[in-house]
């Protein structure tokens, strides 16, 4: 055990690992935002609210229909994805071609409405959701006790992140998507239904949020404001990573989780603000974000 800056390296390892796990949530959420922004040019402020709806969906599936966590992991993103597609078709589509601000205001309003409705019916302290039996308990790693559920979160979200990156950057479907953002008229001329693709992309982006919501349900309380507390940080992650950069949002998500984890050890009072300090610095030095391409 070599002490480093007042704390043992063992304790430090533990803290880094925990930071990485929180980073997994940042990565998943910011990934959805980046996909939506990159492909649709919409700043989706409803992302946090839909993340919360995903968690509530898991709660309802368990308590009303008796479907456990594993079903929720599949059904909840599908339900929320469908909801997202309805939102896109009925509302967001009308804003196509307008300034970013309109989309931002619309989604922000939606988020407030959704949260308000949930809060009206469920209060603010939230509802309990237990860790699935298969993942209960933990492993003693020597330097810390790691709950099995947290290991699952980090592995699962890493797989989802990489699969999404691969799909968008390396497959034909992803190529269509990227082309459609560059020049929708030309892609349409090739016989590809661009509006439908946009709807599906939005649905996919918010499904990722719902997935993160289900993952978070056993760790946090299922609360109406669970997303509102989170979304601001996640936006900072996206800005630091570079708006719309897929890889950027994943790497930055994990990285900021780590930095936040370290802050919690050395100066816990600042752990909620450190992300924004970094954001300010990045914006000053590299305004397009760490992975952003300057236009």
């Amino acid at each position: 055990m070599i002490p480093l800056l007042g704390i043992s390296t063992q304790a430090l390892f533990g803290q880094l690992l925990l930071g990485l796990i929180n980073g997994a949530f940042y990565a998943l959420l910011s990934l959805g935002l980046a996909v939506i922004f990159g492909m649709l040019n919409i700043i989706n402020f409803a992302h946090g609210a839909l993340y919360m709806v995903g968690a509530f969906c898991a709660y309802f599936l368990l308590n009303l229909l008796g479907l456990n966590y594993w079903f929720a992991l599949i059904i909840s993103p599908l339900v929320v994805g469908a909801l997202g597609m309805i939102i896109e078709r009925t509302m967001l589509q009308r804003l196509a071609g307008l300034d970013h601000l309109y989309g931002l205001l619309l989604t922000f309003g939606l988020a407030l409405i959704i949260q308000g409705v949930f809060q009206n019916y469920f209060g603010s302290s939230g509802l309990p959701y237990a860790i699935p039996r298969e993942l209960a308990g933990g492993t003693n790693l020597g330097f810390m006790f790691l709950p099995n559920y947290r290991s699952w979160v980090i592995i699962f979200s890493l797989i989802v992140c990489l699969a999404t990156w691969f799909m968008i950057e390396k497959t034909r479907l992803g190529a269509y998507l990227r082309a459609a953002t560059e020049n929708p008229a030309l892609v349409r001329a090739f016989g590809i239904n661009v509006p439908r693709m946009v709807t599906l992309t939005y649905g996919f982006g918010v499904a990722l949020a719902a997935l993160a919501g289900v993952l978070a349900a056993p760790i946090n309380q299922v609360r109406p404001l669970m997303g509102a507390d989170f979304i601001i940080v996640v936006f900072a992650v996206v800005v630091i990573g570079g708006m719309g950069s897929i890889l950027g949002s994943i790497v930055t998500g994990f990285l900021l989780g780590l930095i936040e984890g370290l802050t919690k050890v050395f100066y816990p009072e600042a752990s909620n603000t450190v992300v924004f300090v970094i954001m300010a610095i990045v914006l000053l030095v590299k305004p397009a974000g760490l992975f952003g391409r300057t236009a």
Partner: protein, 403 residues
């Protein structure tokens, strides 16, 4: 023409007389709370409801009083709380502010109330400074305070063997006060505090802080926080096997809404101090059932909401005796003079420093197997008599206390 002028003049005179009479016999109550964030279930809309129920049950309307209840959201920001309070006093002519969870906001509002000579019946905020160095002739601290919590839980756990403590403290006025008061109680009982970590208000993740607490090897981990912060910390503590590792988790401030949100599986065994539980006697049960039937989410009343109800009933008695709610300090003086007696907290008194005195209870959360159903959550472990539950006047820093 002449008659119509006369009629108009008469009508105007009557209306004026009417409004003058009404002005003397009106009370406006402002329920200032966190309506939408982490403390909303502790006070929030439930406190407004409790205030309305107090108005109905007081029989004041039958005696010719006209009473209004209004509410606002202070968003846990002292500056927002202060500007609402000022607007209420100056424009809305509010006579009394109730609830105000969040000690930071309560301390700020405390000053405004004194400046405007109105009344502050605090139920939601915990800091014992409200009856300590920040005490005023216009404020009564009704339900609980950090000293009572620290004294109840801190002393009991230290004496039963938990003699080393590590604190997870919410980084604002309330957390600091609770930590300070508990540290005093622990040291007095022969224990020692080995470490503290101060976390920001409204933290979603406590794993890092819990790990630090785990590494400290302290026997007791004291949660000097409240509401959503406490529930998240308790839930994640069970995830990280804190209690299985032999450490005791002490939620220094826990409300029934928190236990309900956690579920008995995660909350079982927690020991904590409160001054009210809905299932104590027939009167509390009757109140609670009526209250729950009017709540949108069907929640039972927390001690904060019960405190709003009880404090207002006593306030009405004092105002009725004086015949006016105009002079805040006078009303509070009258309230201190009269012994208190209400269905929820029983008989009690209000001390010169503004501290309401009643018993406190050491509760423990039931195991799922012991609970008969929703809201059947507490076992009473000990009753701390009224004269021992709160800070003795001899230790008070309140300038109102004559020594």
């Amino acid at each position: 023409m002449r008659t119509s002028i006369a009629v108009t003049a008469l009508a105007a005179a009557l209306a004026w007389a009417g409004s003058a009479a009404a002005q003397n016999k009106t009370i406006k109550i402002g329920s200032l709370s966190d309506q939408s964030s982490l403390y909303a279930d502790i006070g929030g809309p439930g406190s407004t409801l409790a205030a309305q129920m107090a108005v109905e049950d007081s029989g004041m309307t039958a005696k010719g009083w006209k009473i209004d209840v209004i509410s606002a959201d202070h968003q846990n920001k002292p500056d927002v709380g202060v500007s609402i309070a000022r607007q209420w006093f100056d424009v809305e002519k509010v006579d009394v502010i109730v609830d105000v969870p969040n000690s930071g906001v309560a301390l700020a509002v405390n000053n405004v109330v004194k400046e405007k000579n109105k009344v502050f019946l605090n139920s939601g905020a915990g800091t014992s400074d409200l009856t300590g160095k920040a005490c005023t002739p216009n404020t009564i601290h009704w339900t609980y305070d950090t000293y009572a919590l620290a004294n109840g839980t801190g002393t009991a756990l230290t004496k039963s063997g938990g003699d080393t403590w590590f604190f997870l403290t919410a980084d604002y006025a309330f957390g600091a006060a609770l930590e300070r008061d508990t540290t005093n109680a622990v040291t007095k009982a022969g224990g020692k505090v080995v470490g503290t970590v101060r976390h920001p208000l409204n933290s979603p993740d406590f794993s890092s802080f819990l790990l630090q607490a785990q590494t400290s090897k302290a026997k007791v981990i004291g949660l000097a926080n409240a509401g959503g912060d406490t529930t998240n910390a308790v839930k994640q503590a069970s995830e990280f096997g804190i209690t299985q590792g032999g450490q005791t988790l002490a939620a220094l401030l826990l409300f029934i809404s928190d236990v309900h949100a956690l579920g008995l599986n995660a909350a079982q065994g927690l020991t904590f101090t409160e001054t009210f539980y809905w299932d104590m006697n027939d009167q509390t049960r009757a109140f609670a059932k009526k209250f729950a039937s009017k709540m949108k989410n069907g929640n039972m009343p927390t001690m904060v909401q019960a405190g709003v109800y009880s404090a207002l009933l006593h306030y009405f008695k004092a105002v009725d005796a004086l015949g006016s709610a105009e002079d805040g300090a006078k009303v509070v003086a009258k309230m201190k003079e009269m012994p208190t007696d209400d269905p929820l907290f029983g008989k009690g008194t209000i001390r010169e420093d503004g501290r309401k005195i009643h018993p406190a209870y050491l509760f423990q959360v039931k195991k799922p197997s012991e609970s008969k159903g929703p809201w059947d959550y507490y076992i009473t472990k000990a009753t701390i008599p009224a004269d021992q539950a709160f800070r003795p006047l001899s230790e008070s820093e309140c300038p109102l206390v004559k020594k």
